[in-house]
């Protein structure tokens, strides 16, 4: 029998947030915060639509995607036919419901979450390619963002990290 290897604890995580919906952004934020609470170093890299989480004018106005989301359920747990996701107001309703649940779990709104991560010592970065694509400049970014990185910079900063793509 092979000897059981001693498992090396995780020391640093590098989390990529690439999706712009509420359900796309929160998991990465929660994982980054959870890492810091365990004493694990954390950096978060926002790219593509994930940038919305650190763009001042968008960060507190992020919605749940109800179109093309077969995981959606109606109150009571009945699966929601995907076609209903396109009904006007459905995304706003799902967003309202999710924000309410988040609040009851003491999970903050995105803007406050970014502040919390910054205070916890997590590093927050924006993706240069995505910034250029959406024509954002550094002025559009919330102040907690420490730098705009190229992919090369990202890998450099991720040295010794477990990279997690969300």
């Amino acid at each position: 029998m092979a000897e059981e290897k001693v498992k090396e604890p995780i020391k640093r995580v590098s989390i990529i947030i690439s999706k712009g919906s509420l359900d796309g952004i929160y998991p990465g934020l929660i994982m980054a915060n959870g890492a810091r609470m365990e004493g694990i170093e954390a950096m978060v890299f926002f790219t593509f639509f994930g940038l919305d989480a650190i763009i001042k004018k968008n960060m507190n106005n992020v919605k749940v995607a109800t179109v093309g989301n077969p995981g959606m359920r109606m109150p009571g747990g009945i699966p929601m036919p995907t076609v209903l996701g396109a009904i006007p107001g459905m995304s706003a309703f799902a967003t309202f419901m999710m924000n309410k649940e988040m609040d009851s779990l003491d999970i903050p709104p995105i803007g406050e979450f970014i502040e919390m991560l910054d205070a916890a010592g997590a590093e927050i970065y924006a993706c240069k390619a995505a910034m250029d694509m959406f024509h954002y400049t550094e002025k559009d970014l919330t102040e907690e963002v420490s730098e705009v990185l190229t992919i090369g910079d990202f890998y450099e900063k991720s040295a010794g990290s477990q990279i997690i793509f969300t």
């Binding site: 915060n33 365990e38 003491d106 205070a119 916890a120």
Partner: protein
């Protein structure tokens, strides 16, 4: 159940070192647990510990990091400065409470 001797008292702890019987806890024991975690307790530490203890007594669970940061009188930066590398876990351990179960 593992045991350890703190401040001349035999204390029951779980596998990770969290106290099992909170009635054995007192401030001297808190200081001893803190020492094991390389933390010297100050007045600011006690603001946090007292808050967590009070919340646990009234609500039955350890408050979230966000709540502690908002209501204990020490902000988020302070929490990480006073209890480096894991503020809620370390503070709960020093309070003689079980391991926190919340993800946030």
């Amino acid at each position: 159940m593992p045991e350890k001797t703190l401040n001349g008292q035999t204390i029951e702890v779980d596998a990770e070192g969290y106290m099992v019987d909170n009635s054995q806890w007192n401030k001297e024991i808190a200081a001893e647990i803190a020492k094991e975690l390389e933390i010297e307790l100050t007045e600011d530490h006690w603001k946090i510990l007292d808050f967590i203890n009070a919340e646990f007594k009234s609500g039955g669970s350890i408050p979230t990091l966000r709540k502690i940061g908002k209501k204990s009188g020490v902000d988020m930066k302070g929490l990480y400065r006073l209890f480096p590398d894991g503020p809620v876990k370390k503070a709960a351990m020093i309070c003689g409470l079980p391991k926190p179960k919340s993800c946030v």
